[in-house]
Amino acid sequence: MTAYETDLPTLPVEAGDPLLDLLNGFIAELRAVGIPASLTENLDAMEAVKHVPITDRETFKYALAATLVKNQAHWKAFETVFEVYFSLRGAQYEIAADDLEEADEADGEIRAEGDRGSGGDMLSPEELAEMLYRALMRGDSEMLRAAAREAVRRYAGMEPGRPVGGTYYLYRTLRNLDLEGVLERLMDAEQHTDGDVDDFDLRLRRDEFELRIAELKRQIEAEIRRRLVADRGVEAMAKTLRKPLPSDIDFMHASREEMASLRKAIYPLTRKLAARLVRKRRHGRAGPLDFRSTVRHSLSYGGVPVEPKFRHPRPHKPDIMVVADVSGSVAAFARFTLHLVYAISSQFSKVRSFVFIDGLDEVTSFFEGTDDIAEAVHRVNTEADVVWVDGHSDYGHALGVFWDNYADDVGPRTTVLILGDARNNYHAPESWIIKALQQKARHVFWLNPEPRSYWDTGDSIVGEYAPHCDGVFEVRNLRQLEAFVDRLA
């Protein structure tokens, strides 16, 4: 990106300044994404940019981040917005610039750079593949960037004004590049050039190549965005790229990428939750006066109760039974809930877990004796025996199995958590079981990953069970899950 990094002047910030306008738009977009940038932070950012040259993009970015983004989970969202607003722009900062003109300009620039990089107007597919291969082999970032640009120009088939998202173009470009094949080729070459490389060494090199390919994908994505911004303008583009923050991602509709960021988010979350619960337990309110102990201690003062003694409150540690639907769409939700519950299992006196689809199986043993919860959750998905007839959710039957086999273990200290959308495929609900459980147990809670407005539509029968539960909660994202678990412990 050297071309538009170097020729930018350091703009003095004054009212009506294009940079100021741009910053305002930028901050408005951050807020739209869900990053809470307050007024003071806004002013700090304005102040900060006076001190750093806008030409030093990396520092400029950190200056904005340091003043506006105070939570690491928001970093990725910030980065995307920053990219759209600052990195991807042409040589000028006016937002109002004519779109068409800007697009032309950007195109010309690319062509010029493409020429410089390749020495020809258009590379043949073979030449491009070779260039890509060499760039990845050497880890030459300049060459990688040029290859990414060329690949987008050639394969993405971008047309101005076409209303498709960046993902579509990304998919088209990547499909043509066959990066998996390139990786195999790279590994083959590594294996043959050096005679004595062992598996360990190869693994390290593979990691290296994988990272380079990931970098290439980032470059391609950035290039596509850059062109889209030139075509559609900043605001529209920022809007299309708007993605929920990790804590707001819907469990039921998370893409693969979002799942990965959820998995990453859950570790710090559990740590925080555990620390908070421990603290809560320790610093609970003082208990009532312990009369006996006060009198006992007053003896050393001649019977004068100088030092009143209080009872230590011993908050009840609940005994948890998790009964989770793990069929298709709600499986992800069950995974995250199990993960969270086990991660803070020290806050409970006992945790037992059951999973079901139309049959039901106890999976407590998967979690015992291992400190790798992710691994255990994975085993639950692959090993648990949860299919009875056809592998379609049957709450009635699953609850029946639970009642027959485990109801005796449900006692007055037990809290039963039922996780599922209660989409019963029109089977018998058997809601009397929930009623009976509620009478035996301390609490019965139902967590439903569907939006409340979908409840009791179609084959959802939450309404049948709800009257017998102590609470039915909508838990669609990590934020709601955290709030519930916090309440529970």
């Binding site: 809470p36 307050s38 003071t40 932070e41 700090d44 102040e47 900060a48 001190h51 750093v52 030093d56 990396e58 520092t59 970015k61 950190y62 200056a63 981040a65 340091a66 003043t67 983004v69 105070k70 690491q72 970093w75 590994m187 062992d198 598996d199 360990f200 060494d201 190869l202 693994r203 390290l204 593979r206 990691d207 290296e208 994988e210 990272l211 390919i213 990931a214 998995r263 710090p268 740590r271 925080k272 620390a275 908070r276 603290r279 610093h283 291992t370 400190d371 790798d372 992710a374 691994e375």
Partner: protein, 293 residues
């Protein structure tokens, strides 16, 4: 008003002179902290050099480092100031016989002489340049955080008996947090935020070369590569920079020239502290097929 640093590049250069290697983003935040007179809140995984940053900045600017280690139960008397109760008592006793009025005595015993300064007040009152490090601020309770707010935004401390003490010079303030709980909005708003993540492979190699004497360049390179591969796995506790350095030192002591699978398997317990992590790393590194990126 004079500033400590000329520009961002100078910060980065000076930091590398005291063997703290960083990227321009980090240097930029330190530079801004000086220009905007704002404290820096540093977060990040354990062992990535958060505390070291404050120490290095102190060393680089030739400032005195005042450190306040936070813990649960930290209070005003430990963080800000305390009246020297015993000395006050003595003062009263010595004047018992003399004919001194109440007003005089009370004016007297609530004066500078009877004030015990604690780190925060000390940083405010110092005349020499100061770097104030408030370490692991996430360990104090939310209520105690409020103690810090006045000093962080106004650089002053109010003592009811004495009035408001303003800073003689604005110290550079660093707060570190291991993120075990969410800090209050009020605190975050007053600070610049800096997240220090694990360094890139190249940076880590430089760190190893700088900090481990007598290490061969290709061994350092390998160390950084292996650590990077291990960090890509989903682990309970990924290796920190300090653990990388420990590992590198061990390898040098063992006289290892080249890391192969056996050496890695034997010494990986220096990098990883959980049995499940060690098992996973050994299993993963033995296979050529990578994990999904």
């Amino acid at each position: 008003m004079s500033h400590r640093f000329a520009d961002v590049a100078a910060v980065q250069q000076d930091l590398s002179k005291v063997e703290y290697l960083c990227d321009s983003g980090l240097a930029g935040v330190v530079y801004l902290a000086d220009r905007l007179d704002k404290p820096v809140l540093v977060e990040g995984p354990a062992g990535t050099g958060k505390t070291q940053l404050a120490k290095s900045v102190a060393e680089m600017t030739g400032s005195r480092l005042i450190r306040l280690q936070c813990y649960e139960g930290l209070d005003e008397a430990k963080a800000l100031y305390e009246w020297n109760y015993k000395k006050q008592l003595l003062r009263i006793q010595t004047e018992r016989d003399a004919d001194v009025g109440w007003d005089e005595v009370s004016d007297d015993i609530f004066s500078d002489e009877f004030l015990l300064t604690r780190p925060l007040l000390e940083a405010i009152r110092a005349v020499d340049p100061i770097v104030l490090l408030i370490d692991e601020v996430d360990r104090v309770e939310v209520e105690t955080e409020a103690l810090l707010l006045e000093i962080l935004s106004e650089y002053q401390v109010s003592i009811p008996e004495l009035g408001t003490m303003e800073a003689l010079q604005v110290p550079l303030v660093f707060l570190t947090s291991n993120n075990t709980r969410e800090l209050s909005e009020a605190l975050k708003r007053r600070c610049l935020y800096l997240h220090i993540d694990y360094p890139t492979m190249e940076r880590e190699k430089e760190i190893v070369l700088a900090k481990v004497p007598d290490i061969a360049e290709n061994l350092a390179d390998q160390v950084a590569r292996v650590v990077r591969s291990i960090r890509r796995l989903e682990l309970k506790k990924p290796p920190s920079v300090s653990e990388t350095l420990d590992w590198a030192r061990t390898l040098v002591l063992l006289g290892v020239q080249h890391i192969d699978a056996d050496v890695a398997a034997e010494t990986v317990n220096i990098l990883l502290k959980y049995q499940s992590d060690i098992a996973k790393a050994n299993k993963e590194l033995a296979t050529v097929e990578g994990i999904e990126p």
